[in-house]
Symmetry: C2
Subunit: 339 residues, 2 copies
Amino acid sequence: MTTINDVARAAGVSAATVSRVFNGGRVTAERAERVRRTAAELGFSPNRVARSLRKQRSSVIGLIIPDIENPFFTSLARGVEDAAQQTNLSVVLCNSDEDVEKERRYLEIALAEQMAGVIVAAASRNRTDLSPLAARGMPVVAVDRRPRGASVDAVMVDNQHGGEEATAHLLSEGYERVACITGPEGASTSEERLAGFRTVMSDHLRERGEDQARLREYIRYADFRVEGGRAAMEDLLRLPEPPDAVFVANNLMTVGALEALREAGTLPPETGVLSFGDVPWASLVHPSLTTVQLPSYDLGWTAAGLLQDRIGGVDRPLQTLVLRTSLQVRASTGGPSAD
Amino acid sequence: MTTINDVARAAGVSAATVSRVFNGGRVTAERAERVRRTAAELGFSPNRVARSLRKQRSSVIGLIIPDIENPFFTSLARGVEDAAQQTNLSVVLCNSDEDVEKERRYLEIALAEQMAGVIVAAASRNRTDLSPLAARGMPVVAVDRRPRGASVDAVMVDNQHGGEEATAHLLSEGYERVACITGPEGASTSEERLAGFRTVMSDHLRERGEDQARLREYIRYADFRVEGGRAAMEDLLRLPEPPDAVFVANNLMTVGALEALREAGTLPPETGVLSFGDVPWASLVHPSLTTVQLPSYDLGWTAAGLLQDRIGGVDRPLQTLVLRTSLQVRASTGGPSAD
DNA sequence: GGGTCTGTTGAAATCGATTTCTTTCAAGAC
DNA sequence: GTCTTGAAAGAAATCGATTTCAACAGACCC
């Protein structure tokens, strides 16, 4: 492993000069050229560990996500990475596995490794603690979920709007009895999506002069997982008057709901299904599955941008950016069959 | 940020003693206790950058994969991570995006960051160059694909066996004209899977006394992507005597093939489809889709084990482990319909 | 009592870069 | 000719840990 001193000796200059050549100090053209040539010959590349130690900052940013197997987060990761490429930062990805303890360990590593900054999709809104990072002045951006009380920049999704859009779309297609399967009670993402559903359905029922109480009957809380979605859908199907459409608050539960519907023999478009978040491949098979597209890639890209600003020393008040969802209509099947 | 010197001063000992307390040196019980208490009070955690510089090795292993959005690789990543947890190594994940240049950059970073070791699923069998790492004595394990000429440990999938198993299964279900859509010509994974197909089909045709030439007609090379799978399937369907079953050599192309089949109105089980590699969600919707399960998680787990052995200094000849695939039969639909 | 051994300890060297501090030298001003 | 100014370059300090080395104290044996 050739070091800066090897290069210095071979080029007949001091280590300081070599460093200046690579970091934009003042060096006469002739020497700079000689240093560069020697460095190339020896295959020198600066030791990042030593550099980080001296600079008290590495050129790596950490990205902590709760589920590496969820396409939403991998797409987000792509966004972060592409943005980081532009400024020579490298991204290291850490999978907290929805486990606050594992996440804590990774946050500690980020500190101990003196990473330039961290982007976190928190494992828990309540228990994720970003304060140690903030305390030591490490730039942090929260993405998708903002831990309670954390004073950091954030990039979020407009969940309520997405819920409204989804529900309105199902109604516009002619479905009448629209249900909602949302995530855990208390989780902000599931509550916000549900709120969107409530708003639109409530208006709809009022216009129709129908009983608002029906709204509640068609709401199920589940756990954002396949099995939970399935159970909730089965439960809805057992109602005396089952829904003819359902808004499912995430992609995994949608898979479960589709399973339940398949068993009941009432697949889309007979029963309308609208998923919050893309269901990457099932949608190829189920052309009538409309989804609320989450701006996952943009979330990552935007978060990385904010982080880089902070790393660069930009001094402005904390920001929260909210990105909108968009409805992806796969095929206009005209809604429920008319029989 | 409290350093080891702060702790030393506060505890009235030397930095060397503090270091020994945390690294298992000989220190009298009384002092050790005092140091530990002081460290806890000051919230000291050793600076990993400084430690890495001194030890010339960090406690991070790199995992370089070519496509973070492919569930095969994310599952592999889980395996690596779970295995690494056990020895306090942390894993950082880098996405080479099937780009040899990007991959080269990450390999360089691994060196410059003095990572403890690297696990690589190479972007290219020909052009990925692992020799710089090997030259500097950094432990490397290749996984899934072994770059040509690289002398490193490797963990591979038994592609040929998987291809045989898949083809045999389709025949056993009663399909007659089985086709194969494989990856790019020259790629080892696609050639091996195809070889498995050829072996079994060739035997089958011979037994039946049929013309071996038919084998070739039913083979298509594509690109391991959705669109390629679709195009290949469309092409096969245009044959005067289209296949009644197809073995598709990866998950993404299977999605494409299913699209083509849906348009042609001959979905499984009417036309048999067997995917090499899981198609996570489509399979929930297409119960009759049998898949060759790749041991992705185990690949990661095993590779991490090999790497840790090397990091620990185990000295044994280079090893290549080959893991078998397993057939996952989703539902015995009894093969093609009898009409 | 002198000599050897062993177990603790701290001072100092070390890892490899960056950055500060000096020194040197030359150009330009008066 | 002297003084000022500024650029260029090297020597040395620095980052924060680990590790080597030397010093020392106490136990033990002749």
